[in-house]
């Protein structure tokens, strides 16, 4: 595209306008205009003041005799002279503004239809043309090719772009120094043509009439090697610059719209008294309700972001002239369900909705106030009846009931609860009674679906989370409000991190609520610390406190931990070299994202007889990777042998899911599924999606995210094969193959399930040497505890051997060892300490034959 375009700034009209700006009369017109207008008003006031002094009482008049006669006429004359200059500069300033924004007859996209026909320079905005002229002069001065770096250097001087650089935390002075250095010492590519054609492409994408300064900045960010380097060093992306430019353009647009008071959108904000007169009174409703239309007015008509499709669907349903014209909004709290209603109120108020919905009041029934103020159920029912009648008679009310499920009770009525379906039924069937009910998935399944007659009048609208772009836009808008309120600056990287952390560490709460909440929390936290600029580190701190996950550390320390995983695991696991190696390698693969699917961090199948360290590896992994053994969600899959057990696992309206709820609440965990092979095949099938997509839908229709979990499934199926192979000292890779074939043949695991594991890990039966090491590990734990009491505990080889002898059985591995140590050693030591037989500073050992304490 670049080579075909014709670009000659000196032949463009805007070039002339930029030259005109150099004339002082145009350059200083806005300031001079202001000075003359102020002087005019001052002299006018002085003139009136002097004139009114002529009516003063004679005593006062005698005191001001020093004022010359006809002074008021003279001051008025001066005021008139200033007026004439003010008017002159008013005309000049407005005319120059018109010249700066000369309208274009051809659209930007049309330039590409006949490349070479139009001079691209004709389609530059005033600022862009000015930047290009300045950059061209700069390049000539420095004797460098006219390129993106020269443009970048000049763009830094545009006050309008301070907004972008300031929020990106980029120091303009520093950048200028870097650029000057580069320009001096490096050979930079002559990429002006490419930069300007990319700016054109961006302008076309944004449907601009001309190439705007934001388009040029974005293009420079795309093309300039120095800008790219600065962005990488500052941990920023091109997308971040794009978002900030969008933000700046939106603010400019809003500002322009606000200033044009004569535009219909601004005038209509005054409302209509005539239309109100034709509507009926709603005295009772007003007492127990919140008028959302008035709320929107109070909020200054905010731009509601997201859920466009859902809002349009809601309008279509409300516009129907039939009984089924009531939308039922279903979604999790925090997804922006109420914002949708506010958007509807706004659109209805401005007459931007459908004719049947326009100029209506959107009123939310305050059920809590109603229930708390009225004493009996009968009184509540009577009042509700009056309210619903008023809604019908008013003709301009669309009623909203939030948490609708609370007032539609299930089959069994809770004490104190109210069921309004009886009073609602006669009204909801009327086309002139329009109700928007808001509920959750849980409420829908638990309560509303129990009343099919009521449900039949509603049309469901499912509200999902808003997108990443919409959330960022919402965060930006909210950030501005907080900045004004608390007099702080919220940097863009902080906003970006809020989104990132929310997505990663708070998957249980929906967007946008979690992001907005977190932003407010970060702001309050920073204010407490007397910080005036919100940086990414502040966000990381709050997230760490909230989730108990060391966010900043994990990002930095994770690499070290992954590289050193084998050693860290071996501090707790004896032998099992292959298994540990395989887990570590799979985890590294998963974290560096060198794989195709988007499942959990890692999914492993641990195979081996009991007591060989499968669970211990899981515990060690939870400690090493997530920081604590407590970050483990453990389920015995032998409890899920029937299809009927699925609701217990995934949850249902009446119970929490044993798997889904803990994962929703603690998404950054290790999930240990013991005796995996014993679960029902259909339950095993559920994990296909988890391993593949990284999420599962729970019994209430909520998406549960497994992307931050490590899933370990253990099984001792086929342990006889392992024992046999160990005795015969066969090669383990072949044993694994044999074992997998055995599972497939026996129908224990389906091949697609086995294939979805990151690794199938085989645990060898423990040898006597291994057991001695395990005994030492366990005894060392006791040694450590005694050391804290200043008692030295000596571990002897004989003691270890005795423990191994007492606890080892081929079938149970080292499982008994802990119990034996507890019975024979821990109990003995506890009693001795209580009887004061061992004192601080003593050295002891235990006789392995009699299990008695020997002091040394």
């Amino acid at each position: 595209m670049a080579s075909n375009l014709y670009f000659n700034i000196e032949r463009a009209t805007i070039f002339e306008v930029v030259q005109l700006e150099k004339l002082p009369i145009f350059k200083f017109a806005p300031k001079i205009k202001k000075i003359f207008s102020n002087l005019f008003f001052i002299f006018l006031l002085v003139s009136f003041f002097i004139y009114f002094l002529s009516f003063a009482p004679p005593e006062l008049k005698s005191k001001i005799k020093f004022l010359p006669k006809g002074l008021e006429i003279k001051t008025l004359g001066i005021a008139l002279i200033f007026l004439s200059f003010w008017l002159l500069f008013l005309i000049l300033d407005n005319f120059f503004n018109y010249l700066k924004n000369l309208p274009q007859k051809i659209e930007l996209k049309d330039i590409l239809k006949v490349p070479g026909q139009h001079n691209l320079a004709e389609f530059l905005s005033f600022d862009v043309a000015k930047a290009i002229i300045l950059a061209s002069n700069f390049a000539k001065r420095k004797n460098i090719p006219f390129n993106s770096s020269a443009l970048f250097y000049c763009l830094l001087d545009f006050p309008k772009l301070n907004f972008v650089f300031l929020r990106l935390l980029l120091d303009k002075t520093q950048i200028k120094k870097i650029l000057e250095n580069y320009v001096k010492n490096e050979v930079l590519p002559p990429n002006f043509q490419k930069t300007i054609s990319d700016a054109l492409r961006i302008g076309i994408e944004k449907k601009h009439q001309k190439i705007e300064i934001g388009d040029l900045l974005l293009s420079v960010a795309e093309n300039d090697p120095i800008f790219k380097k600065i962005l990488i060093e500052s941990n920023l992306k091109l997308e971040d610059v794009g978002n900030l430019v969008w933000w700046l353009e939106e603010l400019e647009k809003e500002d322009k719209e606000r200033k044009e008071w004569w535009e219909w959108k601004n005038l209509v904000k005054f409302g209509s008294i005539g239309k109100e007169f034709s509507a009926g009174y709603t005295i009772t409703l007003d007492k127990f309700s919140i008028d959302l239309t008035k709320e929107v007015q109070k909020m200054g008509y905010p731009t509601i972001i997201g859920h466009e499709k859902e809002i349009e669907e809601m309008e279509r349903i409300l516009a129907r002239r039939e009984a089924c014209n009531d939308p039922l909004i279903v979604g999790e709290a925090g997804t922006g369900r109420k914002s949708m209603i506010l958007a509807l109120a706004e659109r209805s108020f401005f007459g931007q909705s459908l004719p049947e919905v326009n100029y209506h009041r959107i009123v939310q029934l305050n059920m809590q106030a109603l229930l708390s103020q009225l004493e009996s159920i009968e009184a509540v029912e009577a009042t509700l009846d009056t309210i619903f009648r008023e809604v019908v008679l008013a003709k301009n009310v669309i009623l909203v009931i939030d948490e609708f499920h609370n007032y539609v009770e299930g089959k069994i009525l809770r004490p104190g609860a109210i069921d309004i379906t009886g009073i609602l039924s006669p009204f909801i069937s009327r086309p002139d009674f329009r109700l928007i009910a808001i509920t959750t998935y849980e409420g829908l399944h638990k309560n509303i679906e129990q009343h099919p007659s009521i449900l039949s009048f509603f049309e469901k609208i499912e509200v999902s989370e808003i997108t990443r772009e919409e959330t960022m836009k919402l965060l930006q808008k909210f950030a501005l409000k907080l900045e004004t309120k608390y007099k702080i600056l919220i940097s863009y990287p902080a906003l970006r991190d809020i989104f990132y952390y929310c997505e990663k560490y708070l998957p249980a709460i929906p967007f946008p609520e979690k992001a907005l909440d977190l932003l407010e929390e970060v702001v309050v936290h920073s204010l407490q610390k007397r910080e005036r600029i919100i940086l990414p580190k502040h966000v990381a701190k709050v997230v760490s406190e909230r989730t108990e996950i060391p966010v900043g550390e994990i990002e930095l320390g994770e690499r070290e931990r992954l590289l050193n995983l084998e050693n860290l695991l071996h501090q707790r696991i004896v032998d099992q070299e292959d298994a540990i190696k395989e887990v570590s390698a799979a985890l590294r693969r998963a974290r560096t994202e060198i794989r195709v699917r988007k499942g959990p961090i890692g999914a492993f199948l641990f195979l081996g007889p009991t007591g060989v360290g499968k669970t211990e590896t899981a515990k060690a992994l939870a400690e090493v990777y997530f920081g604590s053994e407590k970050r483990m969600i453990r389920l015995d899959m032998s409890e899920f042998q029937n299809v009927q057990d699925i609701p217990r696992l995934l949850g249902s309206p009446s119970e929490e899911g044993l798997l889904t709820t803990p994962v929703r609440e603690r998404p950054f965990s290790l999930v240990l599924l013991d005796e995996f092979e014993k679960a029902h095949p259909q339950i095993l099938n559920l994990f296909l999606q988890v391993f593949d997509e990284g999420h599962l839908t729970d019994g209430l229709g909520r998406k549960v995210d497994f992307k931050n979990t490590i899933i370990i499934c253990t099984s001792n199926a086929g342990y006889q094969t392992i024992f046999k192979a160990a005795k015969e000292k066969r090669e383990w890779s072949k044993v694994k193959e044999e074992l997998i074939n055995y599972f497939v043949e026996q129908g224990i695991f389906r091949p697609e399930l086995i294939n979805r594991f990151d690794a199938v890990v085989l645990y060898k039966p423990l040898t006597k040497e291994n057991l001695l090491e395990i005994a030492e590990l366990l005894l060392k734990k006791i040694q450590k505890q005694l050391k804290a009491k200043e008692i030295e505990f000596l571990i002897t080889q004989k003691l270890k051997e005795k423990i191994v002898e007492l606890s080892y059985t081929p079938e149970f591995g080292a499982r008994q060892m802990e119990r034996v140590i507890e019975n024979k050693i821990s109990n003995l030591l506890a009693e001795a300490i209580l009887r004061k037989e061992i004192k601080r500073g003593e050295r002891i050992e235990i006789d392995p034959d009699t299990f008695s304490i020997i002091k040394r």
Binding site: G77, I78, F85, L87, F95
Partner: protein, 135 residues
């Protein structure tokens, strides 16, 4: 007149003429058109005329007595009559205010337009008058 073509030929005066006598007056007319439309929306004169004798805020009484009750019959009709009269009375005021507003816009519009056209002259007169009053 194509503004761009004009500037290309550096005829700033022609461009000024186009802006001053065509573009800005058009804008002024658009502003006053919006104001007229807003007046009709705010006071809803047409709607109020259509519903001139309607019950005030939909307040109406219904005769729901079985058999004949003359007193109740008169009471209901009298109340409804009062509601309608009250409605008409208040609507009259709003309609009058609406008409006044529209008239003001209709008068103010041409004044602003003419003032704009003669602004350079006004400026010159102000200067001359001011200068004269100084000496």
């Amino acid at each position: 007149m194509d503004a761009l073509e004009a500037l290309k030929r550096k005829s700033l005066l022609i461009l000024f003429y186009d802006w001053y006598f065509v573009k800005v007056p058009k804008k002024i007319l658009l502003v006053f058109k919006n104001l007229l439309k807003f007046g009709e929306y705010f006071f809803s004169i047409t709607l109020l005329l259509k519903t001139y004798f309607s019950h005030w805020h939909g307040y109406r009484w219904v005769y729901n007595v079985r058999g004949i009750d003359i007193w109740k019959f008169f009471e209901v009709h009298f109340s409804n009559l009062i509601s309608r009269i009250l409605g008409a009375f208040i609507r009259t005021f709003v309609i009058l205010f609406g008409i006044l507003f529209e008239l003001a816009v209709l008068i103010l519009g041409p004044i602003v337009l003419i003032s704009w056209i003669f602004l350079p002259l006004i400026s010159l007169i102000a200067f001359l008058y001011g200068f004269k009053s100084l000496f």
